[in-house]
Subunit: 414 residues, 2 copies
C-alpha cells in the first residue's frame, strides 16, 4: 500500500494507521477527521463530496459534531468502511483528495485537537504485574507484594470522566489533604508528590446491555480503538485517602489522552501472545484464545522549562498481564453495561526492568532515588513547569502505526 | 399556600414540593414535568401556552428532551422561576391549568417515568459515622472500627454512571467471582449476599471549572436537588475485590433512583444542624456555617412475591456526619470539575439505633441475624423476587415534602 502523499517511513500516522479525531480551526467548527502524515482529512467535506454515499445517507450528520460518539455508534461496518475509502483515495493517483481547491486536506499544525469522544464512564485497571508488585512492595510488604486477589482478578476501579482532557491542555498542581509522616493531624496544601502513570486506554465502540455480559471471545467487537492515557496521580493525597474505598482526589483532578484514536484494526499486525496464566489459571470466564496483547513501544519524557527533554522510561504495552479482552469480560460479567465512548485504561504499564517503570513513584522508588535529566537537573516527582510527554508506536513488516503523543504541562497550584 | 387541586395533606408531592422529572406516555414523547399530588404538569405544553415567556424564549427547547440537563443548565433563576410560575398557577383559581381541554395535567398513573438526568459522573460518599463504624467493626476491628482518615475526610469514590436506573426497572442478581471462607481458590456464580444501601443523592445543577474549587459557602449554588438512591451491593463480590482499589463489580451492576428530583429550595424548611465536629475539627476548607443537614425521614421496605410488605429500616438523612456542602467542597478542592447532572450520593445512611441501619449487611450483622418479614419469612440478604422500596419525606410547619419512592425488583441471574 502506497500513498501519493509524502509520509516519512517513521511517521506514526502512516497509511496503515489512519486514526480518527475531532479537530477545529479558524472558521471550521469541530468535526471528525482522519490523520495521515502531517495532514488531517476533513470527513465532513468528504461526505459532502459524496465519497461515503454507499455507507451513509448524504444528510446523515455524524461528522460535524463535537465528538465521534454518533459516528462510532454506527458500528464497525461503517467506521471501517469510511476508513477504507479514505485509505483507497490516499493511494489512488487521481483522487479528489489531491485537488487543493476542495480543501479536503489540512496541515495538522493548523488545527486544534479536542477530546475525540464524550466519555460516559472511565475505568482504570491495574493490570501490569510489575507495577502492582512494585507498588505493593513499597506501600505494603515486599515479601507479599501482590495481594491475594491480584492473580485472579483484573483489578479495576472507576475513575473520573469529567476531568479527562486532550493532549496540549495544561493542568494545575492539585491541592489537598495529606498526612505527613509522623504527624498527628493532616495538613492542607499543594501535592508534593505529583506523578504520571503511563497507560493505554481502549475506547468502547458498541453498547452492551445492562444485565448481560460480554465474553473474551466477543470483547474485540466492543472496542473501537486505543489512545495513550496519562493517569495523573498525587501520591501523597492518594496515600492518605485510599483506604478503604480506593483512589479519589489523588487521581480525579486530571487524566490526559492522545487525541487520535487508533482503530483496533490498524493494530492487528502488532498482536503478540500474552503472559502464561497457569499459576494460577484464571476462572473460565477470563480465559481466551489467540494473541491478544500488542507489541507497542511506549515512552515517557520530561521536558523542562528550558526546553530540554529527557526520555525517562521505555516500556511496552505487551507487558500487561491481564489483556484488554479479559478486562472487558471481567467488567461486564456482573451485568455492568458499557456505552460507546467509555474508556477502559490499562493501568500503569511497567516493564520488568526499572528503565521501563511507568510512574515516578516506581522510577524514584517512592522518592528514594533521583532521576537525572539531560540539563543536569534531577527529579523524584514532577515539578511545576515540567511537561510530561508520552509516545507510543508499533512497527512490524514495515508498517508503522503510532499514537502521536500526549503532552501536558504542569502549572503551579492557584 | 393552597392549591385548587385535591392533594391530601400527607402527600409527598404537595404544593410546597413540585419536583421535576422526565416522563412519557402513549403518544407523548419524553419531556419534562412537575409533579403535583397524583398529577404531572406538562412543561412543554405550558411553554407552548406562553406561561414562561418572561423566562424562556418560546422557541427555546429545554422541555421536550430525554433529560433535564439542558433545562437545569439554564440556572436556578430559570428553574426556580418556572417552578414558581407553576406554583402560582396551581393556587390561582382561574388558572389555565384547570382547563381540561388543554391537557396540561395528566394523572401520574398514566405516565412512565425515565431517568431525569444524563449522569456524567456519579460519586458515592461514605458519610454516615454509624455505617462506617458498623462496617469497620464487622470487616476489620471492632475496637478500631473507624479508619484513621474517616473523621478528617468525607471519604468517597467514583461509582458507575451507566448503570443508574429509575425506579420501577428490575435488576438481575449479579454473577461474579468470590472467595468462599476457607477456600483455596475463588469460585464463580450468582452473588449470595445481595444488598441495598439506603442513600440520598444530590444532582449537580451548575458546572464547576477544572482546576478550581467550590467552597462550603458556595456549594448549595451547585446543587439542583435531591433524589433517593439505592446503591445496590453484592457483598461477597465486593469483599474479594475491594482491596486495594475499592468497590467495582460489587457495586456497578446497578444503582436505582427515585425519578422526581426535589429541588433544594423545597427542602429549606427541613434544615437542621449537623454533628458537632470538634474532635477532631475538620481542616478549614471543610468548615461551614449554619444548618446544612436535613430532617428527612427515610425508610426501607421489602415486598415479597406474595405481595406482603415489611418496613425493615427507619432512618433519617440528618444522621449524616459529613454534610452535602462538605462533600462538594472536598470533591472539588483538588480542582476536580463537576458537571450538570452529576450525582453525589451520601453513602449509606444508618441511624444510631439498629432499627435504622441502612443495609442488610448491618441489619443482619453480616448474616448472623435473621430479619423477620410480615409473612413469616425471614431475610439475611435480598432474595430473588424481592422488591426493595425506599421512601423519604420531611414534614414541618404543615409543609410535607417527599421523594415518592424508589422501587426495584430483583430477578434471578441469567
Amino acid at each position: 500500500m502506497k500513498t501519493w502523499l509524502n509520509v516519512p517511513a517513521d511517521h506514526d500516522f502512516s497509511i496503515y494507521n489512519l486514526p480518527f479525531g475531532i479537530y477545529s480551526m479558524e472558521g471550521v467548527a469541530p468535526r471528525a477527521g482522519i490523520a495521515i502524515g502531517d495532514y488531517v482529512v476533513d470527513l465532513q467535506r468528504c461526505q459532502n463530496m459524496g465519497m461515503f454515499s454507499d455507507l451513509l445517507a448524504p444528510t446523515m450528520n455524524v461528522f460535524k459534531r463535537k465528538t465521534l460518539n454518533r459516528f462510532i455508534r454506527k458500528g464497525k461496518e461503517i467506521t471501517s468502511g469510511v476508513r477504507k475509502i479514505i485509505q483507497d483515495e490516499l493511494c489512488k493517483e487521481d483522487s479528489f483528495l489531491r485537488d487543493e481547491t476542495l480543501s479536503l486536506l489540512t496541515p495538522r499544525d493548523q488545527v486544534k485537537m479536542h477530546l475525540p469522544v464524550r466519555v460516559g464512564d472511565y475505568t482504570d485497571f491495574y493490570s501490569s504485574r510489575e507495577h502492582a508488585t512494585n507498588v505493593g512492595a513499597m506501600f505494603r510488604d515486599p515479601d507479599n507484594a501482590l495481594l491475594p486477589n491480584w492473580l485472579h482478578i483484573p483489578v479495576g476501579y472507576h475513575g473520573r470522566a469529567s476531568s479527562i482532557i486532550p493532549s496540549g491542555k495544561s493542568i494545575r498542581r492539585p491541592q489537598g489533604q495529606t498526612m505527613p509522616k509522623d504527624a498527628e493531624q493532616p495538613v492542607f496544601g499543594p501535592s508534593k508528590r505529583l506523578d504520571f502513570e503511563l497507560e493505554v486506554a481502549c475506547v468502547i465502540g458498541k453498547n452492551s446491555k445492562l444485565g448481560t455480559s460480554v465474553s473474551t471471545e466477543d470483547a474485540e467487537d466492543y472496542i473501537f480503538g486505543l489512545v495513550l492515557f496519562n493517569d495523573w496521580s498525587a501520591r501523597d493525597i492518594q496515600k492518605w485517602e485510599y483506604v478503604p474505598l480506593g483512589p479519589f482526589l489523588g487521581k480525579n483532578f486530571a487524566s490526559s489522552i492522545s487525541p487520535w484514536i487508533v482503530p483496533l484494526e490498524a493494530l492487528e499486525h502488532l498482536k503478540v501472545g500474552g503472559y502464561d496464566q497457569k499459576d494460577p489459571e484464571p476462572l473460565p470466564y477470563l480465559k481466551y484464545e489467540g494473541d491478544k496483547n500488542y507489541d507497542i513501544e511506549l515512552e515517557v519524557a520530561i521536558k523542562t522549562e528550558d526546553g530540554s527533554e529527557t526520555t525517562i522510561s521505555r516500556s511496552n504495552y505487551k507487558h500487561l498481564y491481564w489483556t484488554m479482552v479479559q478486562q472487558l469480560a471481567h467488567h461486564t460479567v456482573n451485568g455492568c453495561n458499557l456505552r460507546v465512548g467509555d474508556m477502559l485504561a490499562s493501568g500503569t504499564i511497567s516493564a520488568p526492568d526499572e528503565s521501563g517503570y511507568g510512574s515516578m513513584l516506581e522510577l524514584s522508588w517512592a522518592g528514594s532515588k533521583e532521576i537525572p535529566l539531560s540539563n543536569g537537573e534531577t527529579r523524584k516527582f514532577i515539578e511545576d513547569g515540567d511537561t510530561v510527554i508520552m509516545r507510543g508506536f508499533g512497527n512490524k513488516d514495515g508498517k508503522r502505526v503510532g499514537f502521536g503523543e500526549v503532552r501536558t504541562k504542569v502549572l503551579p497550584s492557584k
